[in-house]
């Protein structure tokens, strides 16, 4: 679109310069409706800041949702965040911080007209983005694998039973197995599966009683009672609406989550929040990488100079925002106390 516009509008100077053929005698990167490069730069900068404000507000909606859910149900967050891998999260934070640093350096370099350095630093920043996304992909695939997903796809059976159960078992059977396998009273797995057998336990007190281990069946009933906003005579939930997917093949996941305590209701909220926030952030990282890739190409081509570095500056601002959002996401999701 830009290209076409330039083709039919010889007088309008796009950021893609054909400034050599320029007739009016002012700077090749000065667009016709601005009086000076300073004015153009100021306008660009204000525009970018406004855009960043809209981005903050976009995420602001999610932070709001986070705050509401967390305030109402802190136990869900306390429990579920343990399934996130703080090490990977921390590494990712470092990766993004480093890439933010190289980006800031790239801006300075371009302001000084250091073309080569700018290109190298942009490339490094881009690689930082790649690294972040790769790590995120690894984390995501673990979560998918373990059924640590949102809403209807949340499946505790996949991560709470290291011993693997035949897929033909229903959830109640799974619960029974859990009780048999882990005799320890503190076993979270049994409690969890009991809750699975009794979806939204509040609506089905009778379902809960089908699990025999008293010290464990009490748990979901208690949490269920808290959430018992729902009338007892309500229609039963459809099996399909509840995470009743049979346990996966044997040996899918061998423990590793033994210290989580009893599982509260609606753990899927946390993962809903986790995936929406990190997913949307991931999309922004991708968009930022596209911008940096474009800046890299232009930088190699020699578009930027000490006079004209607006795109690098603005791209840098965007990348810092993406970084900043992660700086908020990391503690909010990974480091809950």
């Amino acid at each position: 679109m830009t290209q076409m516009a330039d083709a039919v509008h010889p007088t309008s100077h796009a950021a893609v310069p054909h400034g050599d053929a320029h007739a009016h005698g002012h700077h090749p990167n000065l667009e016709h409706h601005f009086d000076s490069l300073t004015q153009q730069f100021d306008a660009g900068k204000l525009g970018m800041w406004l855009f960043l404000a809209t981005e903050v507000l976009l995420f602001g909606g999610l932070f709001c949702a986070y705050a509401i859910f967390r305030r109402n149900h802190p136990e869900v967050f306390m429990y579920a965040h343990q399934f996130l891998d703080t090490t990977w999260g921390a590494i990712n934070t470092v990766v993004l911080l480093v890439s933010s640093f190289t980006m800031a350096w790239a801006v300075t370099a371009s302001q000084r007209g250091q073309r080569h350095l700018t290109s190298i630093l942009l490339a490094l920043t881009f690689l930082g983005g790649v690294g972040f996304m790769v790590i995120k992909a690894v984390e995501y695939s673990h979560k998918f694998h373990d059924g640590l997903m949102w809403g209807v796809h949340y499946d505790p059976a996949k991560h709470e039973h290291g011993h693997g159960h035949n897929g033909a078992h229903g959830a109640a059977a799974t619960a029974a197995h859990g009780a048999a396998d882990h005799a320890a009273p503190a076993d979270h797995g049994t409690a969890g599966a009991a809750a699975t057998a009794a979806p939204a336990a509040s609506t089905h007190p009778e379902a809960t009683t089908s699990v025999h281990a008293p010290e464990t069946s009490g748990q979901p009933a208690a949490t269920g009672a808290e959430a018992a906003d729902l009338p007892p005579e309500r229609a039963p939930l459809e099996p399909s609406q509840v995470a009743l997917a049979p346990a996966g093949p044997a040996g899918l996941h061998t423990g590793g989550h033994d210290l989580h305590g009893p599982r509260p209701d609606n753990v899927h909220w946390f993962f809903g929040v986790y995936f929406t926030m990190t997913g949307l952030h991931g999309l922004h990282v991708l968009a930022g990488m596209a911008v940096i890739g474009w800046l890299f190409v232009r930088s190699v081509r020699g578009d930027f100079s000490a006079d004209y570095f607006t795109p690098v500056d603005l791209g840098g601002l965007y990348w810092h925002l993406v970084d900043l959002i992660w700086i908020f996401l990391f503690p909010l999701l990974y480091l809950i106390h």
Partner: protein, 352 residues
Amino acid sequence: MTGILADSLGLMPPKASTFAPAVDFWFDFTLWVSIFFFVLIIGLMMIFMVMYRRRPGVRAIVTPTHSTVLELSWTIIPTILVVLMFWGGFKTYMDQRVMPSGAYEIGVNAKQWAWEFTYPNGIRHPELHVPKDVPVVLTMFSDDVLHSFFIPAFRVKMDVMRGRYTKLWFQATLASPPGGYYPVLCTEYCGTSHSTMVTKCVVHETRAEFDQWLRDADPLKKLTPEQYDEYVRDPAAFIAAHPDIQGLQSPADMGRKLWDTKGCKQCHSIDGKVGTGPSWLGIWGAQHEFSNAPPAVVEENYVRESIENPRAKALKGYAANAMPTYQGRITDREIDSIIAFIKTLKSGSETK
């Protein structure tokens, strides 16, 4: 407190609850204020339109371009008025929202597209009956989407949702005329038959009259098992022998009443017209094909299963999950009546 203008112009529905006079009073107050300002602004505008219309050779007269006194006065005077209105709205609202203690409690269940009221004695009924001059608290929930409970005559409204109880109270002050009623409406859009999710609110003059109604509300329930067997064997004879059981009709007629009041008719016609669900006309004994089960003939067990667990068999050509389950809110005797009713709907020459 009352609304003079609203009353004389017939703007409001009958005043049948304790809230109505206050609501109408504040409606009237706001209406007077509105009329005053509207006449002031539009009247002046029209006068100016005539007096200062464009005439050849006459130019506009330069007048001051601002006046702090004017600006402040038309900022402050409306402010005082709206503070009054806020106070009035606040007061009526708090009356409506603070539930009285010791009120008569009725449960309300909303589902697409029917209301059902649960009375303290366990009777479930599609109509809302209340005694006059008794505070009534409704505790409401929805089975599916949002609904909103609205009785214009009482000036009350509250959304009904799944997953959370909402409450509403009122005290009726005007009995509905014999045979008459106040409409109960759903005002939160809830899908295809939103506009027919309407039922009756009957206000009984005395508590005794109300209690009498409540006792008779479900004649089927009153019968002992022995009486019920007797009734099923020969309904006409049984009804003739027990004139004291009000409202008892033949099983097919009882079924028809249930069809009318339990929400069946929103989806199942009895004249062959295809709705959200299949028409009941001529359905008895027909062979049904399912997308998730082997074919079956429409007989007692199938009908019972379709009512209690409608998704067990998904009839081809219809949405598989359109029908909510009625398990727990319909009795065996009621299902018997519905079966009896369906049996009577033999189609003649109509096409299926």
